[in-house]
Protein backbone atom coordinates (compact mmCIF):
# COMPACT_ATOMS: atom_id res chain seq x y z
CA UNK A 1 0.00 0.00 0.00
CA UNK A 2 2.61 2.44 1.08
CA UNK A 3 4.88 1.42 -1.78
CA UNK A 4 2.25 2.06 -4.43
CA UNK A 5 1.51 5.48 -2.89
CA UNK A 6 5.15 6.51 -2.74
CA UNK A 7 5.92 5.41 -6.29
CA UNK A 8 3.34 7.77 -7.76
CA UNK A 9 4.38 10.78 -5.66
CA UNK A 10 6.54 13.38 -7.42
CA UNK A 11 10.09 13.73 -6.13
CA UNK A 12 10.51 16.47 -3.57
CA UNK A 13 12.61 19.36 -4.93
CA UNK A 14 13.88 20.54 -1.58
CA UNK A 15 14.50 18.17 1.26
CA UNK A 16 14.74 19.89 4.63
CA UNK A 17 17.77 18.52 6.37
CA UNK A 18 18.24 19.39 9.97
CA UNK A 19 16.68 20.81 13.06
CA UNK A 20 14.94 24.18 12.69
CA UNK A 21 16.12 25.56 16.02
CA UNK A 22 19.73 24.59 15.38
CA UNK A 23 19.60 26.04 11.87
CA UNK A 24 18.16 29.37 13.00
CA UNK A 25 20.37 29.70 16.06
CA UNK A 26 23.55 28.83 14.18
CA UNK A 27 22.54 31.16 11.33
CA UNK A 28 22.20 34.01 13.80
CA UNK A 29 25.31 33.26 15.86
CA UNK A 30 27.75 32.87 13.00
CA UNK A 31 26.86 34.42 9.63
CA UNK A 32 26.39 31.74 6.97
CA UNK A 33 26.55 28.88 9.47
CA UNK A 34 22.86 28.11 9.09
CA UNK A 35 23.35 27.47 5.39
CA UNK A 36 26.45 25.39 6.05
CA UNK A 37 24.47 23.35 8.58
CA UNK A 38 21.76 22.84 5.96
CA UNK A 39 24.31 21.49 3.46
CA UNK A 40 24.52 24.70 1.42
CA UNK A 41 28.22 25.00 2.08
CA UNK A 42 29.32 27.20 -0.79
CA UNK A 43 26.53 29.69 -0.28
CA UNK A 44 27.11 29.69 3.46
CA UNK A 45 30.81 30.42 3.00
CA UNK A 46 30.02 33.17 0.50
CA UNK A 47 27.58 34.77 2.94
CA UNK A 48 30.11 34.45 5.75
CA UNK A 49 32.76 36.17 3.65
CA UNK A 50 30.40 38.98 2.60
CA UNK A 51 29.29 39.75 6.14
CA UNK A 52 32.78 39.51 7.61
CA UNK A 53 34.06 41.89 4.93
CA UNK A 54 31.21 44.33 5.71
CA UNK A 55 32.06 44.18 9.43
CA UNK A 56 35.79 44.66 8.82
CA UNK A 57 35.20 47.66 6.56
CA UNK A 58 32.78 49.13 9.10
CA UNK A 59 35.34 48.77 11.89
CA UNK A 60 38.17 50.09 9.74
CA UNK A 61 36.08 53.20 9.04
CA UNK A 62 35.38 53.52 12.79
CA UNK A 63 31.63 53.32 12.33
CA UNK A 64 29.14 53.20 15.18
CA UNK A 65 28.13 49.84 16.60
CA UNK A 66 24.72 50.78 17.92
CA UNK A 67 23.69 50.48 21.55
CA UNK A 68 20.37 51.63 23.02
CA UNK A 69 20.31 55.28 24.06
CA UNK A 70 17.54 56.27 26.48
CA UNK A 71 15.16 58.78 24.93
CA UNK A 72 16.15 57.84 21.38
CA UNK A 73 13.79 55.09 20.23
CA UNK A 74 15.47 54.61 16.86
CA UNK A 75 18.68 53.49 18.56
CA UNK A 76 16.76 50.50 19.93
CA UNK A 77 15.79 49.49 16.42
CA UNK A 78 19.30 50.10 15.13
CA UNK A 79 20.75 48.04 17.99
CA UNK A 80 18.39 45.20 17.15
CA UNK A 81 19.50 45.45 13.53
CA UNK A 82 23.18 45.47 14.42
CA UNK A 83 22.77 42.56 16.82
CA UNK A 84 21.66 40.53 13.82
CA UNK A 85 25.33 39.88 13.08
CA UNK A 86 25.28 37.53 16.09
CA UNK A 87 28.52 36.58 17.81
CA UNK A 88 30.62 39.27 16.07
CA UNK A 89 28.44 41.97 17.65
CA UNK A 90 29.13 40.71 21.16
CA UNK A 91 32.78 40.09 20.37
CA UNK A 92 33.18 43.66 19.17
CA UNK A 93 31.11 45.19 21.95
CA UNK A 94 32.24 43.23 24.99
CA UNK A 95 35.38 41.38 23.87
CA UNK A 96 37.21 44.09 21.97
CA UNK A 97 35.38 47.04 23.55
CA UNK A 98 34.85 48.50 20.11
CA UNK A 99 33.32 51.97 20.22
CA UNK A 100 33.69 53.62 16.84
CA UNK A 101 34.78 57.22 16.54
CA UNK A 102 32.37 59.96 15.61
CA UNK A 103 35.32 62.17 14.65
CA UNK A 104 36.52 59.61 12.10
CA UNK A 105 36.25 60.62 8.47
CA UNK A 106 34.45 57.41 7.58
CA UNK A 107 32.14 57.30 10.60
CA UNK A 108 28.84 57.50 8.69
CA UNK A 109 29.96 55.02 6.06
CA UNK A 110 31.30 52.65 8.70
CA UNK A 111 28.01 52.81 10.57
CA UNK A 112 26.16 51.93 7.38
CA UNK A 113 28.44 48.94 6.78
CA UNK A 114 28.04 47.64 10.34
CA UNK A 115 24.28 48.07 10.40
CA UNK A 116 23.98 46.46 6.97
CA UNK A 117 26.02 43.46 8.12
CA UNK A 118 23.54 42.90 10.94
CA UNK A 119 20.51 43.32 8.72
CA UNK A 120 21.92 40.99 6.06
CA UNK A 121 22.41 38.30 8.67
CA UNK A 122 18.81 38.67 9.85
CA UNK A 123 17.79 37.91 6.26
CA UNK A 124 20.03 34.84 6.32
CA UNK A 125 18.31 33.66 9.50
CA UNK A 126 14.94 33.96 7.75
CA UNK A 127 16.34 32.20 4.68
CA UNK A 128 17.62 29.31 6.81
CA UNK A 129 14.19 29.11 8.43
CA UNK A 130 12.53 28.88 5.00
CA UNK A 131 14.98 26.21 3.86
CA UNK A 132 14.56 24.04 6.92
CA UNK A 133 10.77 24.20 6.56
CA UNK A 134 11.04 23.16 2.90
CA UNK A 135 9.63 26.42 1.55
CA UNK A 136 12.78 27.27 -0.30
CA UNK A 137 15.55 25.33 -1.96
Amino acid sequence: MAESGSSSAPPSPALPTGNAAVAVLSAWLIPGMGHIYLKRRLRGLAFLALIVVAILIGCKLEGNLYTPVPGQPLTYLATLGSMGMGFPYFLLRYGLHYQGDIRGAGYEYGTAFLLTAGLMNWLLVLDAWDIVRGKKE
Binding site: R43, F47, L50, V53, I57, L61, Y109, T116, M120
Partner: protein, 64 residues
Protein backbone atom coordinates in the same frame (compact mmCIF):
# COMPACT_ATOMS: atom_id res chain seq x y z
CA UNK B 1 42.52 56.90 1.41
CA UNK B 2 38.99 56.00 0.36
CA UNK B 3 36.83 58.42 -1.54
CA UNK B 4 33.08 58.78 -1.07
CA UNK B 5 32.56 57.30 -4.51
CA UNK B 6 34.75 54.27 -3.87
CA UNK B 7 32.98 53.58 -0.58
CA UNK B 8 29.63 53.83 -2.31
CA UNK B 9 30.76 51.39 -5.01
CA UNK B 10 32.11 49.02 -2.35
CA UNK B 11 28.84 49.14 -0.44
CA UNK B 12 26.79 48.59 -3.60
CA UNK B 13 29.05 45.68 -4.55
CA UNK B 14 28.60 43.91 -1.20
CA UNK B 15 24.85 44.41 -1.10
CA UNK B 16 24.25 43.42 -4.71
CA UNK B 17 26.34 40.24 -4.45
CA UNK B 18 24.51 39.35 -1.24
CA UNK B 19 21.03 39.72 -2.72
CA UNK B 20 21.99 38.02 -5.97
CA UNK B 21 23.13 34.96 -3.98
CA UNK B 22 20.14 35.10 -1.65
CA UNK B 23 17.33 35.57 -4.13
CA UNK B 24 18.46 33.75 -7.29
CA UNK B 25 19.74 30.24 -7.97
CA UNK B 26 20.98 30.02 -11.56
CA UNK B 27 24.27 31.70 -12.40
CA UNK B 28 22.72 33.67 -15.26
CA UNK B 29 19.88 34.91 -13.06
CA UNK B 30 22.31 35.83 -10.31
CA UNK B 31 24.45 37.90 -12.65
CA UNK B 32 21.38 39.63 -14.03
CA UNK B 33 20.08 40.58 -10.57
CA UNK B 34 23.58 41.60 -9.44
CA UNK B 35 23.88 44.01 -12.35
CA UNK B 36 20.41 45.41 -11.78
CA UNK B 37 21.01 46.14 -8.10
CA UNK B 38 24.61 47.30 -8.50
CA UNK B 39 23.96 49.64 -11.39
CA UNK B 40 20.75 50.84 -9.77
CA UNK B 41 22.54 51.77 -6.55
CA UNK B 42 25.58 53.39 -8.15
CA UNK B 43 23.60 55.08 -10.91
CA UNK B 44 20.92 56.20 -8.46
CA UNK B 45 23.54 57.59 -6.11
CA UNK B 46 25.19 59.55 -8.90
CA UNK B 47 21.83 60.83 -10.10
CA UNK B 48 20.84 62.05 -6.63
CA UNK B 49 24.28 63.63 -6.17
CA UNK B 50 23.92 65.40 -9.53
CA UNK B 51 20.44 66.66 -8.60
CA UNK B 52 21.68 67.91 -5.24
CA UNK B 53 24.73 69.63 -6.66
CA UNK B 54 23.09 73.06 -7.32
CA UNK B 55 21.56 73.13 -3.84
CA UNK B 56 24.22 73.51 -1.16
CA UNK B 57 22.89 72.76 2.30
CA UNK B 58 24.47 75.73 4.05
CA UNK B 59 27.60 77.75 4.48
CA UNK B 60 30.81 75.85 3.79
CA UNK B 61 32.29 74.05 6.77
CA UNK B 62 35.36 75.67 8.27
CA UNK B 63 38.62 74.10 7.20
CA UNK B 64 40.39 72.72 10.25
Amino acid sequence: MLSHFLLMVLYALLVSVFFALLWRRGRREQVKLFLQIFLGMVGGGLLVAWLMYPFPSGPPAPIP
